[in-house]
């Protein structure tokens, strides 16, 4: 495309982001500040993820973008179109064909491989945010690995609701050192992060932070010994493909209270239906 550098960002900016990514990979789960740029989409739509993607994408990459598991939502279609135009790369909706997958709020059902990179869009990178609103103080806690209070939140949930009530963005301990927000993926997806073969990169544009989980890194969801972590899932099967193990969306289909459950990962669902 004329008038734009390859993949929209200029080369100096990409180098700056790559440096942040290298640091992030070297210290799994640790948030690295970076000079987040204005992107041609609003904050909250994936400005962090799109910058990470722009920094790592090459001419031979095949890009897949999902939003809540779906390839055909506005956000996913626009970001895919954006890179098709500014980088001229091939795009796909098939998980196994993609070398880069930018995602909002889901991890694909199909296990990822070593030659793939998963890029998360992150709204709030700080897992301690709700317990410790002071950012300087929160950083100090990360430095000293003082994470015990995170359990206070879980304690309260169990006391009030009988179980841990966070269904998404359930905090994880990475490499037994840094507490990390997995971005608002459902708790159902947390176990997939553990020792994943693919590199996982996280970009938070508004908060100007990048962090990473290198391949085959331990990722443990916080829990209590007597209340183990529970990856929640609707107790239904997919109305389209009949799967009983995948993560389901509940979809309202009429104004008579009718609803159906269907796989949130559209590519996985289509693959099963053949």
């Amino acid at each position: 495309m004329q008038g734009y550098n390859f993949a929209y960002l200029d080369e100096q900016t990409k180098r700056m982001i790559r440096r942040a990514i290298l640091k992030a990979v070297a210290i799994p789960g640790h948030q690295i500040p970076f000079a987040s740029r204005e992107m041609p989409l609003p904050y909250g739509w994936g400005t962090g993820g799109i910058q990470v993607t722009a920094a790592v994408i090459g001419a031979n990459d095949v890009l897949k973008v999902i939003d809540q598991g779906a390839d055909d939502t506005t956000n996913a279609v626009s970001i895919r179109g954006f890179f098709a135009r500014t980088a001229g790369v091939r795009t796909t909706t098939k998980t196994e064909e993609a070398s880069l997958i930018q995602t909002r709020h889901r991890i694909p059902e199909q296990p990822l491989r070593e030659d793939q990179i998963l890029i998360y869009q992150v709204p709030m990178p700080e897992p301690l945010y709700k317990l410790e609103p002071g950012k300087a103080k929160a950083r100090r806690r990360h430095a000293l690995a003082e994470y015990g209070e995170m359990h206070v939140k879980l304690y309260e949930d169990i006391t009030r609701f009988g179980r841990v009530a966070v269904a998404y963005d359930h905090p994880v301990m990475v490499n037994e050192r840094y507490l990390m927000s997995p971005s608002p993926i459902p708790a159902f997806d947390n176990p997939k992060m553990h020792r994943m073969a693919a590199l996982q990169l996280f970009g938070a544009g508004r908060e100007k932070r990048i962090y990473a989980v290198p391949p085959y890194t331990n990722v443990r969801s916080l829990d209590f010994e007597d209340h183990p972590f529970h990856p929640g899932r609707a107790d239904q099967k997919c109305a389209l493909c009949g799967d009983e193990k995948s993560y389901l969306d509940e979809i309202v289909i009429d104004d008579q209270g009718g609803r159906m459950f269907a796989c949130s990962d559209t590519d996985y669902c289509q693959g099963r239906r053949g």
Partner: protein, 255 residues
């Protein structure tokens, strides 16, 4: 008894105001030491410096964590915070500042346990209930939010939340200030009973001579950032030598 905490030549200035002027003192194991003096005498500053919450301009605080007296500064920030989270405690005048009001009583008591790595929900809960009982709050209120507690109950809750890790030393800053007299008396009774039973060493700051007389083994009288008199509580209060101490003792209203 061996010295647990020692201060040597502490100096602290806030602008032109001298809060601590060459203060040296020692606290022994299992001992209750009261620091008395009027407002602005530097007693709270001394407490905060001793507890490692404030750094002095000069001088050192030494602590015996098991292998002899060593300067707090040598512990580093991580080491100091570890001490403060488990082996030391700090009870503030205003429990609202110390507690999480939107977290249940059990969660507040359990916080220090969880910060220390406790990860068994049932065990934390059981300990919390036991401590509520120990500070004379009905254990049925374990899941209630502290914002519905009275001032006296909040202070009891703070005491439970501090003592739950079995600290060897607790700093108290006017723990009964702001409470009405009958509640004060019961809280003092509770503190006296608990610290004696657990053998905790205590440094308590108070402007109330009565509190010092009731609780403390030894007494330090401060004025203008200086220690003007110190000794056994009864000795100092019954036979005050320094004129300022005499003034303090004589200004207590007869009961």
């Amino acid at each position: 008894m061996s010295v647990l905490l020692e201060a040597r030549g502490l100096e602290k200035k806030f602008g032109r105001v001298t809060a601590l002027d060459h203060v040296s003192m020692a606290l022994r194991r299992h001992e209750i030491l009261a620091i008395v003096g009027e407002s602005g005498s530097g007693k709270s500053t001394l407490l905060n410096v001793l507890a490692g919450r404030l750094s002095a301009d000069a001088g050192a605080v030494l602590y015996d964590g098991g292998d002899g007296l060593a300067p707090l500064a040598a512990l580093g920030e991580a080491g100091l915070r570890k001490l403060q989270r488990a082996r030391w405690g700090f009870i503030q005048q205003d429990p609202r500042a110390a507690l999480r009001l939107d977290v249940s009583a059990g969660g507040n008591i359990g916080e220090r346990l969880m910060a220390g790595g406790a990860q068994h929900y049932g065990a934390i809960r059981e300990t919390a209930a036991k401590w509520l009982d120990a500070v004379e709050i009905d254990p049925a209120r374990l899941d209630d939010l502290p914002k519905y507690f009275s001032g006296g109950m909040l202070q009891r809750l703070q005491i439970a939340a501090t003592l739950v890790t079995g600290p060897e030393m607790v700093f108290m800053d006017e723990p009964t200030g702001g409470l009405d007299v009958s509640v004060q008396a019961r809280i003092l009774d509770l503190i006296r009973g608990l610290v004696r039973r657990l053998g905790v060493a205590v440094v308590i700051v108070t402007h109330d001579i009565g509190v010092a007389r009731l609780l403390a083994d030894r007494l330090i009288v401060m004025r203008h950032g200086r220690i003007v008199e110190s000794g056994l509580t009864d000795q100092v209060l019954d036979d005050p030598h320094h004129e300022y101490t005499q003034l303090l003792v004589s200004s207590v209203l007869p009961a």
